[in-house]
Amino acid sequence: MKWIGLIAVVLTGALLLSAVGDFPDFGDPKSPANGGVGDFSVSQYYITHTEQDTKVPNVVTAVLADYRGYDTMFETTVIFIAGIGIIAILRSHPPGGRRGPAHPIDATVDGDHQRIIIGITCRIMIPIIQIFALYVVAHGHHSPGGGFQGGVMLGASFILIGLSRDLQAALARFSERRFIVLACLGVAIYAGFGLLCLLLERNFLDYGVLDGFFHTDPVMARSHGIFAVEVGVAFTVTAIMFAIYANLSSKGRLDEGL
């Protein structure tokens, strides 16, 4: 069996390597991505028109959430489905009784150092991590970042609570009901803003029509629309990251964690 795998890997690798030769050079102005076919180029359009179309300085965010918003919506949905799949496969209740009590760290065996050194460091760092994650979400327009990165960091801060104390402490802040609702809410926000545009007789995810909704001109409305959609992405990613950790670390019982 291993030999068949090796043959497949070598064949695929040879194909990929032979295709590398056909790539345009790095930074080639005439490559299809940069120069375009004929005289129309998508990337030229993005670079020159993003600022006047959407008032968003970060071109990547504008492409991600506006020009290619459809793609990002289904990326969010893929994350949502992955999380729901993990919950559906792993989630189980312990036999007899819904939930066992939390196990405190046994100080006589492990010592106090985990509670004192690691616990206090995590306690001080977690609010700072959370505020930084929200900063990343809110400043996706101006600097690198956005819903995915901020959401992952916000989820990671809850995972850190689960790692440094136990899972119950994290679940007390972000219960199962909350994270499932939040995950659904995120996708609903994204798709809802798209549908809102559809209801106002424009294309799906064409935020320019939402100027009445945001009380601004159409260009700023696109900027605000991007922000709203990023918040939706952040909700889903936060909830799903924590949901995956909670289910994986407790074998789906959500009782004590690692």
Partner: protein, 172 residues
């Protein structure tokens, strides 16, 4: 309530430093985010809430002074390490040992500060804390001898209440 306000303003200060864009939209978002984080994890930043605001301020001021002293100790620590690694023949001075250090500090935060300071200063790392006993790995005899009570006295001085003479056990 007071501690919630302090947490909120600390977080808002961090947000303002990070943000760098000061229009109504972004500051509004910042206030919303800080409110959210204060709501979800305000109990994390400060554990013990028996102290008044003024005592806290004094502690924070003395903590700053202590951190400056610690920075100097960090430089000394690294010079010692550099000498051990790069000077030819200095490898003979590497005599690792595990020593016991008993502290009189009571509260968790003081112990935390002492443990991390020990880890930062010359050639010593805290391995375990069992009650009042710190088990410390030192890289050389010089480093192990550096563990006199000076650091502990400085930490106790930070959290000593200004009025009374006895060290406060409840500071955090």
């Amino acid at each position: 309530m007071m501690y919630r306000a302090v947490t909120f303003s600390l977080l808002l200060a961090i947000w303002l430093v990070f943000s760098g864009i000061y229009d109504a939209f972004h500051i509004g978002l910042g206030i919303l985010s800080c409110l959210f984080v204060t709501w979800i994890s305000s109990d994390l930043l400060f554990d013990d809430r028996s102290l008044g605001f003024r005592a806290r301020l004094g502690q924070a001021w003395r903590l700053g002074g202590y951190l400056a002293w610690l920075g100097w100790q960090l430089v000394l620590s690294n010079l010692h390490l550099l000498k051990l690694t790069l000077k030819p023949g200095a490898m003979a001075e590497v005599e690792p040992r595990i020593t016991l250090y008993r502290t009189a500090l009571k509260s968790d935060f003081e112990k935390f500060l002492l443990a991390n300071s020990i880890t930062l200063t010359p050639g010593t790392i805290t391995i375990k804390i069992l009650g009042d006993d710190f088990y410390i790995h030192s890289i050389s005899k010089f480093a192990a001898d550096g563990l006199d009570g000076q650091m502990e006295r400085r930490i106790a001085a930070i959290f000593a209440p200004a009025g009374s003479g006895s060290p406060s056990p409840s500071a955090d």
